[in-house]
């Protein structure tokens, strides 16, 4: 599903752990505004927290843009996390549960993908990384195997 238009809700910096808290707070409010249920909100905020932390820790800081999506009966939220860090040389490996180049658990990226409906990574070594996720209101979670 590719969405075409949307209203930009916010563009927030990700430069410190305080900013991470702001991002979570923003996503909580935006998700409530779009009409997500409690579980969906919690999943989306958690995914956002993981991706924002990656932007900060691995990408050296960056920003997140949130966009309200409204396509007739389908309402959703799109979040794009962008940094100008080192990029991800091997995306498949980075998405593997348990893979970390630092001291993490290696769950953030793969876990975030499981928590949302649409997930894409645009990265090139030396030029940065952009991770985009979309959640739609009232759409059941993806089947597990599709998320892999």
């Amino acid at each position: 599903m590719t969405e075409t238009s949307g209203r930009v809700a916010a563009c927030l910096p990700i430069r410190s752990d305080t900013d991470l808290a702001w991002v979570r707070q923003h996503v909580r409010q935006a998700a409530a505004e779009v009409g997500f249920g409690l579980v969906e909100q919690t999943k989306l905020i958690t995914a956002a927290s993981e991706l924002a932390r990656n932007t900060l820790v691995h990408g050296g800081g960056g920003q997140v843009e949130s966009v309200f999506l409204d396509h007739g009966r389908a309402r959703g939220l799109r979040l794009t996390f962008t940094d100008e860090g080192p990029g991800i040389p091997d995306v498949e490996r980075a998405l593997t549960d348990g893979y970390t180049s630092g001291g993490g658990l290696g769950l953030g990226l793969g876990g975030a993908r499981r928590l949302v409906h649409e997930f894409s990574i645009d990265t090139s070594p030396g030029h940065g990384t952009s991770v985009t996720v979309v959640c739609w209101v009232g759409v059941p979670p993806r089947p597990r195997e599709e998320a892999r």
Partner: protein, 139 residues
């Protein structure tokens, strides 16, 4: 969109002593630094007392990501070195569901429905529980 003046509040986390148990109550947004501070505080509190258990009340916590999850796991691992058990109490169903999907299993952590149940569990021999056990959530 405007947020008003105050940002998400990072709370001071008190560690209470109830008999043999250290009770920590978490509320709202926990910044990464506050979580790391908490880990250190609990470590010191366990070391400086003869506490046999740590109960972390997370009923007021809306989000647990892999960072906070790892902090919980490390608190439990440290406490274990000092022969103290750790129980996470009152995790919201939405949070438990999300953690499972995230893939965070929190090994070494026992969970309880609430603080009361945690205290009851600690008075009995170990039976590990899984997060969200026995609970249902309407999505």
């Amino acid at each position: 969109m405007s947020w008003g003046l105050e940002g998400p509040v990072s709370t001071h986390v008190p560690v209470l002593r109830i008999g043999d148990v250290l009770l920590v109550t978490l509320q709202g947004e926990l910044h990464d630094k506050a979580a790391e501070q908490l880990q250190q505080d609990i470590g010191e509190a366990v070391a400086g007392s003869s506490a046999g258990a740590v109960v972390i009340d997370v009923s007021g916590v809306e989000i647990v990501d892999s960072f906070l999850g790892r902090v919980f796991a490390e608190i439990a691992a440290n406490a274990k070195l000092l022969a103290a058990e750790t129980v996470v109490a009152g995790m919201r169903p939405a949070v438990a569901i999300t953690l499972v999907e995230l893939g965070l299993t929190l090994p070494g952590l026992r969970t309880a429905l609430d603080v009361q149940e945690a205290l009851r569990m600690l008075a009995q021999p170990s039976t590990p529980l899984s997060p969200g056990q026995g609970r249902q959530e309407n999505a």
